[in-house]
Symmetry: C2
Subunit: 476 residues, 2 copies
């Protein structure tokens, strides 16, 4: 008897794939999906299927799935919606394990025909033992197995798994991963969820030893109770970060025509997420920040924060922001102050907490000492370092290489400490220089945020999650 986990897991590890509707060149969606899989290194056979047998250069092309000589485990459906019942029947006959229905034109159209067509393919698949993802979705990205529906997806894996009712949200999340330094184990864009549901995927990721953190973009569900219960069960063992679309009436209407989802009353969702200890974030940016934080940031022992910046004004504002989010910015120890005053003896530099480095900001030769002193300080749990790019770029103009040296020194100093450390590098001017600066930090395993507020929000999310989880574990 097969283990249900292993059986479901097969969806993400097909030995071979067919692309139904792939025909001709790059202008065809099926062909693009097929080419992306090859370019991203899918190791098994890839087949093109279209009723006329129009060749797709470089791939064996067949008129029907049934003509393919070898076994096929998974198929992408990019053929027209009307053709779908017949093609799904062929999937059953060919003995496929699972299918991604990329094609739109089903329940999300809001028409009786669309709904009927969706119900028809579900019935055929259920009876034939084929599992369906979608329709109206992008399907699966799994770097480990080489499943990748876009050319530009990074192929380095990580411990995050994401389910997304929106293909666009999945794509934007995945392409951001490489630059910010997080990585995915599995991503499923599930669209109308006619067969495989968000709840089922969450439960699977909850059991998946390779998934450590779960992200979910959800617009609605036909079975909200089941979804919430899956979030709640999974959240007991792994963080589940939730972004919810369709919280307003106009947004709900948009969601209905997007994925046929019934968003339901927002207030109910909010309460349910809280009850389930889901990490419910308000924006796409917060969604990614939280994911980055759970993957890359060590949970601090407490809420005492050290703030380091180049400007007294930013020190003041960051302190306000930290306090608003339930952190403290306490006085640091006299020993730390004495030790650092030696190394940062500049007019305007203020060695306390928050720490205004002023001119000392560019004294990167002493960063190692700065971070190790704060690492040993008993009055603080976590460090937040704010980078104002314009001080660095101005000096880099006069002393080429300065920016790179400073970035390397900061990366090394931050990597050598045991405490939690977060870096916020503001976008001010010259994005390409910021990118050059943050690269060594990201490569050193650090979490870099575009604003201090976003760093603090994400850390607060992480701490709240574990606090609630432990309190509940203690009570049970």
């Amino acid at each position: 008897m097969t283990d249900p986990f292993d059986d479901f897991e097969k969806i993400f590890h097909p030995r071979s794939m067919a692309f139904v509707g792939a025909s001709g060149g790059f202008e065809n969606a099926g062909t693009r999906l097929l080419l992306a899989h090859r370019e991203c290194g899918f190791p098994g056979p890839l087949y093109a299927v279209n009723p006329k047998g129009n060749p797709v250069e470089g791939f064996p092309t067949y008129k029907s799935l049934l003509d393919i000589p070898g076994p096929v485990d998974h198929a992408y459906m990019a053929a027209p919606a009307q053709a779908m019942p017949q093609v799904i029947r062929e999937c059953v006959e060919k003995g496929l394990h699972s299918v991604t229905v990329f094609t739109a034109g089903f329940r999300e159209t809001g028409t009786p025909e669309g709904v009927a067509l969706e119900e028809e393919i579900v019935a055929i698949a259920k009876e034939g033992g084929v599992r369906l993802i979608g329709p109206n979705c992008m399907g699966i990205y799994c770097p480990e197995s080489g499943m990748s529906y876009r050319f530009d997806f990074p192929m380095r894996r990580g411990p995050l798994s994401l389910i997304s009712q929106s293909g666009g949200v999945a794509i934007s999340s995945i392409v951001t991963a490489e630059e910010r330094g997080f990585g995915f184990e599995k991503v499923v864009s599930f669209g109308n969820e006619c067969d495989i549901t968000s709840a089922e995927l969450l439960a699977h990721f909850g059991n998946d030893p390779r998934t450590e953190v779960i992200m979910a973009y959800i617009e609605g569900s036909r079975n909200p109770g089941e979804l919430i219960s899956a979030i709640s069960d999974t959240g007991r063992v792994k963080p589940v970060i939730v972004l919810k679309g369709g919280t307003s009436e106009d947004g709900s209407r948009a969601a209905a025509s997007h994925t046929g989802a019934m968003s339901g009353a927002n207030i109910t969702w909010e309460g349910a997420f809280k009850q389930a200890n889901a990490i419910h974030v308000p924006t796409f940016e917060d969604f990614l920040d939280a994911a980055l934080t759970f993957q890359r940031v060590k949970r601090p022992a407490g809420r005492r924060m050290s703030i380091i910046s180049v400007s007294g004004g930013f020190c003041v504002m960051l302190t306000d922001m930290a306090v608003e989010r339930g952190f403290e910015v306490p006085t640091i120890s006299e020993k730390t102050i004495e030790d650092l005053k030696e190394s940062f003896d500049f007019t305007g530099t203020s060695i306390k907490n928050p720490m205004d480095l002023a001119r000392g900001f560019i004294n990167y030769m002493e960063f190692e000492k700065l971070f190790s002193c704060l690492d040993e300080d008993e009055c603080t749990d976590a460090l937040l370092f704010l980078v104002s790019m314009e001080y660095i770029t101005a000096l880099d103009d006069r002393m080429p290489g300065f920016l790179d040296n400073m970035a390397r020194a900061l990366a090394e100093a931050c990597s050598n400490i045991n405490k939690t450390v977060m870096v916020a590098a503001l976008y001010t001017n010259r994005d390409e220089d910021r990118q050059r600066f943050t690269k060594p930090l990201v490569e050193a395993g650090l979490a870099v945020y575009p604003t201090a507020e976003r760093a603090l929000d994400a850390l607060n999310c992480m701490m709240n999650y574990y606090e609630v989880r432990e309190r509940r574990e203690g009570n049970s």
Copy 2:
């Protein structure tokens, strides 16, 4: 008799400047300030002053202000705090109009000596008729007159004037200006405000015909009533955007040691800002977004928003965000839908509001039509276009030049319409490509934001400001 406005305005238009404490090369702060003024094109004579007469290459150097042969209107003080009383006496004797005391070590130290020293220089200056900015500040940036304390400040002016209790906040604001397309008339970093106060500066900018929008970063004031009244008076004629540091207890403590400011109870400030119809923003990013919006975005006739994106998920989320901020995302007219369906006839494209362009997103040849149809649509007041960079960069890799062509087409289409238009270009991956994409948009006069949320927040700020102002004007 001199007009008080003209007399104060002289601070920003000195015929000549001296830099007291400038000595030797680039490692000296006074020398750096002096060099920055020359490099940024200050047209009048610039003098270096230090007691030993150490030369500063390329500038006439004197041992005392009194040795300078010609008239001096303004001096930057970078000499040690202890020397300040004597130097200010010399300013009086030489007949200077105003002085920027860059040097720190006064009230912000929290010591009786620091407070006494500050009081001493104020007394000398007051008696001698010299106005003081600072101490513990960066002073003035005024592109029109060539006053610029940093090499990397843009010299293109704009209609914004900024007062900032923090030099760092002023610097970060100014360097961001060029890339985002806004520009400053006058910026004053005023530090401890021992003589010239924030209230006085606000009143001056309120009367200044070259200033259209005012920004203020404030930590506290020795005379909060006067400050609030200045904000309120100025806010009746011009928008005043306020960012407040020191709202928490820890932040207040940081503010006290930063500029000697007493922040006072946050709740009082909040209420006072509201009463004064100040545009009170929570973060530095919101501060810049609001400034950009007041300078570059046309006030819409109403709150009906059209949302255009490449992804159904983002359409749903943007709609929610708009509604949360008091906007509507109503159905657009049948005529618009019919007209646009012709041009955007792609699978997955959804021509309604919000509009999911899907594959039509890259069909930039039709942007002109898209924007002009929405411009004529009677059901909408403002357009928000969300750019997901990853769709553009992926195509640009295969078709070099695609990104630039699309950016130009979008810039042109947006520029040709009468309605309000905002563009949000997300930072996902490849910041250098985003920069390349947004440049033509910014050059065409458009406002570009890093997230849709920030665009909507800023537009909401602008609309709220005018709504309150007009209601009060109606009542008076």
